[in-house]
Amino acid sequence: LLKEVILPLLAFAELLFWETRVELPNRLVHSVQMALPLVDDLDRHGNIVLPYSPDRGESISAVKARTILPSGAVVEAGAESYIDALAAKVGDRERRTLSIALPGLRPGAVVAYEWTETRSEISRVELQHDLPVRRRVVQFPPSLQPFYFNCAEGRQSFPPRPARDAAYLLLVPQPTQSADSFWRTYAAELAADFAKELSPVPPLPGATLDELAEFCRREIKNVLYYVTAADRQTNPNPTPADTLRSRRGTPHEINLLFAAMARAAGYTVLYTRVASPQFRRELLDPGQFGSEVIAVRLPEGLRFFNPGVPFLAPGLLDEDEEGQPALVAAPEGPLFVTLPRSDPARSYVERRAELDLLPDGGVAGEITLRFHGLQAVSLLRRLESQSPAERLAALAQEYPNGVLSALQIEESNPATVRFRLRLPAYAERTQTRLFYSPTFFPAHPAARDTVTMSHPPGFVPESEGSHHGLIPLRRVAR
């Protein structure tokens, strides 16, 4: 019977090499060799599809492909194997594909193909592919400076491209000035712009910094959140005083108002821009910075505030700002800092289930979820884009086959979600017993759970003493 033993795979589809030569001003010349050892690989990778967008100045040329069979024979792709087609078009924007149906493919074949890609902008060169790459080489002129992202510098072999944070190479012109000089100039420009925008507002006597931040967060309607389309079409506020008067503003206007109020209270305030963890000081590109926060200089050091984000609890920065590199535009020159992380103990979920176990193995009862700190921020962000039906549907996904009702949500920080739940077949049922897990909620690193489960009439715990695992209940005669 057992004639063909299937061993663990020793061979897998991979790019043996992928070489890219960068030719200024706008061309990338690629050359690839791909090994396809299995029948399955032929179906998955036997057609090469090269997408490009002519309206963005992209084109594909000098395409050539051949199949090298295990015997060494070479099958060149003829003209009929190349198909240039319109893939999608909206208005004047179009996306085309150049597809190659590789000829004569057999398991164990190696496919060699090359093409020239012309783009309006060639600074970013991808290093990863759907398949593992054994040797990735990028040749570029010395006038370009390389920055490797999501991988070590000079790395040549790669696993398959991940869904996010794929490795790439950024090629930029060699700098004409030092990094110190560049960032000093940039910080000075930021500080000057900030000073121009920061016109005076009347002080709020006796208010602490946290109270000022909360005043701006709660009393000024943030026009990016919780608003109708008409709200968004609000006129810009030229000054912080206008923001205070209109009681509405963009996140930037709200941050400016906070800064102006803190300054009116006698504090030194500094404009600060936040980057991603991949920030490189040697890469002279302000595009590395995204959001903004306001730094306040205190005797013990800098404190950072972002009242432009509506869901934050006092003293918190946004989730994607905590621990990130940032540039503080101080008058004495740029300060590169790492934004502080909040105490994880401030951000948690209290989960309470008060349930009745039913004789058929189902449960019914009330669930209360109370989200604190950044956990509340994540929740409120999600809720903000959901209709009531979508909120219910999203919750229902966490309890397959469950019936949810009486949903109540308190949208504050902390935020509370409360609903009634009826969940069939929670306990496993045999002819004479029910077995249920006392841990009702799925594992969550930041959860504090309380579960109360009342047993159905006619069932008693199987045995006294310590339990582990499932709890058995035995049916008794009534």
Partner: protein, 555 residues
């Protein structure tokens, strides 16, 4: 109101679904489509969309526009430039079929009304038309109107429509159609100068002409056939396997001139090393001819068993080509595009269906019913700490065998087996053909779930796809474990599962015959075991013995 009811409530409805077709004496059709969709719930916003399929090489879109009227009466208009134009690719690498689409879900709210209207000029290969009265949404009014040229007679067939259809000589109307019909109600029309000319033999003649365009045995193909069959005791099987292993690549062009039905010459397919269904079927036809075996291309529908109707002779219902091979044992239907069903078997999706040989004068026929069965035996050794060693042997025929072949051909087959057996520890994986057999030896350290101080839960059954199944699971329990409670037998018209203890071993027998109901998920029913005092803990392990089981009878 429960959530389940909320989600099942109608999210949107079609107020009007209409198609007007004017056929010119040249055969060219001018088609005007109208759809009016009312969004009823938040979820229904996703239905505020339009799709217009067309043949980019032959059809011409004359107009294409849409509007969205919000509940407060504000109307937004969309023109052709707002529609996305995309290639319509299913399994093809390239196709001239395209579609224009518009999705305004982000702008639609409950109470909105989305209207779509388009006109296109369509060159039809046949003087035949089809209209589907609805999609998945409920429809208030669905109407098809035809204006035909003088001199042509009209034959109309209504399939799966409610009795309430209203029709005149040129208009067919249905009202108040419920959502999600089991079979789509459809209208099929043939226009011809002579009502008797639309016959299956006439369709076969036309298809034969397409197939004949690639009929020709060249020396290269002859040489290839001789090389492949040299010394073979099963020359037909050898050629079939060769063509099965050629890559499936479909490149669809010139549909309006019938190229969708015409295979490429065998020599060209051989040189390219790839082809679509008709290319592969025709290549095998030529290779078989080279060794003196007759065969015929056969048109069939591989996805919709209701698409081809005996009452409406037409090539339009076919979407696949296979081969009928004349062997000493009779005609064998074979699908060279399916790499997992060997010569002699017919894939499940092609059995018991209307098919038409692409041979002059052929009549519509029905493909045979295949034999599909799965016999599985599992022998388990279970220790008191939940250490499980399993030996699984499956013998599969027909569709289950094809599914196992597909599983084992994948680079990820170990991962998929591990997921099924709930363990990464696969110690042996072996397979054999004729009949297809799979043997897996595996180990799990966590097969028991504690429940209190003394009880343990154990689930020996594996989830299984619905197929003809005969299964026996035998469990050698540790002496430190005793059976406390077994599930009650489960019996339905086409399913049975029974748990019992025989000769000191725990046995589960499960049988399923495909029928009107799916098999109950008895793998979730636990066996309750109890820890009992034992002289020797479970450190020694006896060698498992493979249990043999009888084979299964065909359906």
């Amino acid at each position: 109101m429960t959530l389940a009811v909320l989600l099942l409530a109608t999210a949107a409805q079609v107020l009007l679904r209409e198609e007007n077709v004017t056929v010119a004496p040249s055969g060219e059709q001018t088609v005007t489509l109208r759809r009016v969709i009312e969004v009823l719930t938040v979820e229904g916003a996703a239905e505020a969309k339009a799709e217009l399929p067309y043949d980019g090489s032959a059809d011409r879109i004359l107009t294409c526009r849409a509007t969205l009227r919000s509940p407060d009466g504000e109307t937004r208009s969309f023109t052709l430039n707002d529609f996305t134009d995309r290639a319509l690719l299913r399994s093809e690498l390239h196709s001239t079929l395209r579609y224009r689409s518009l999705n305004v879900a982000a702008l639609a709210e409950p109470g909105s009304v989305f209207t779509f209207e388009a006109t296109l000029q369509h060159k039809s290969l046949f003087n035949q038309l089809e209209y589907e009265f609805q999609g998945h949404l409920p429809v208030k009014l669905s109407r098809f109107t035809l204006v035909k040229p003088a001199g042509l007679s009209l034959q109309a067939h209504l399939f799966d429509v409610p009795a309430s259809v209203r029709s005149s000589e040129s208009t067919w109307t249905l009202e108040n159609l419920p959502a999600n019909p089991r079979v789509t109600p459809r209208l099929a029309i043939t226009l011809s100068p002579d009502a008797s000319s639309a016959t299956w033999p006439a369709v076969a003649n036309w298809l034969a002409a397409q197939a004949d365009s690639a009929d020709g045995l060249t020396p290269t193909v002859q040489a290839q056939a001789e090389q492949l069959t040299a010394g073979s005791s099963d020359p037909i099987g050898a050629l079939a396997r060769f063509v099965q292993q050629l890559r499936y690549v479909a490149i669809t062009r010139d549909l309006a001139s019938g190229a969708g039905f015409a295979p490429q010459p065998a020599e060209r397919v051989l040189a390219l090393g790839y082809g679509d269904c008709k290319d592969k079927a025709n290549l095998l036809r030529m290779l078989l001819r080279a060794i003196g075996v007759n065969s015929h291309l056969v048109a069939i529908n591989s996805t919709d068993e209701k698409r081809v109707r005996a009452e409406w002779p037409s090539p339009r219902g076919f979407n696949h080509a296979i081969l009928a091979v004349e062997t000493a044992k009779g005609v064998v239907f074979f699908d060279p595009s399916n790499p997992f069903v060997p010569f002699g078997e017919i894939p499940l999706n092609l059995e018991n269906r209307f098919a038409l040989p692409m041979t002059a004068g052929a009549a519509l026929l029905t493909t045979p019913v295949g034999v599909h069965s799965l016999t599985r035996s599992i022998h388990l050794e279970l220790t008191a700490v939940g250490d499980l060693t399993g030996r699984l042997l499956e013998t599969a025929i027909g569709q289950p065998a094809a599914e196992n072949r597909a599983l084992l051909a994948g680079a990820d087959h170990r991962a998929r087996l591990s997921a099924w057996l709930r363990t990464p520890d696969l110690r042996r994986v072996e397979t054999a053909n004729q009949p297809h057999s799979l043997f897996v030896e595996y180990h799990r350290p966590d097969a028991l779930r504690p429940a209190g101080a003394e009880l343990l839960l154990f689930n020996p059954l594996l989830p299984t796809d619905p197929a003809h199944l005969t299964e026996t699971v035998t469990v050698n329990l540790s002496a430190c474990l005793a059976v406390e409670e077994l599930p009650e037998p489960v019996q339905t018209a086409n399913f049975s599962a029974v748990w019992f203890v025989r000769a000191g071993k725990l046995v589960v027998e499960r049988q399923y015959r495909p029928g009107s109901s799916l098999p109950p998920a008895v793998e979730s029913l636990p066996i309750v075991l109890r820890r009992v005092p034992c002289a020797k803990p479970q450190s020694t392990r006896s060698e498992p013995v493979l249990t043999t089981t009888s084979t299964v009878s065909p359906a």
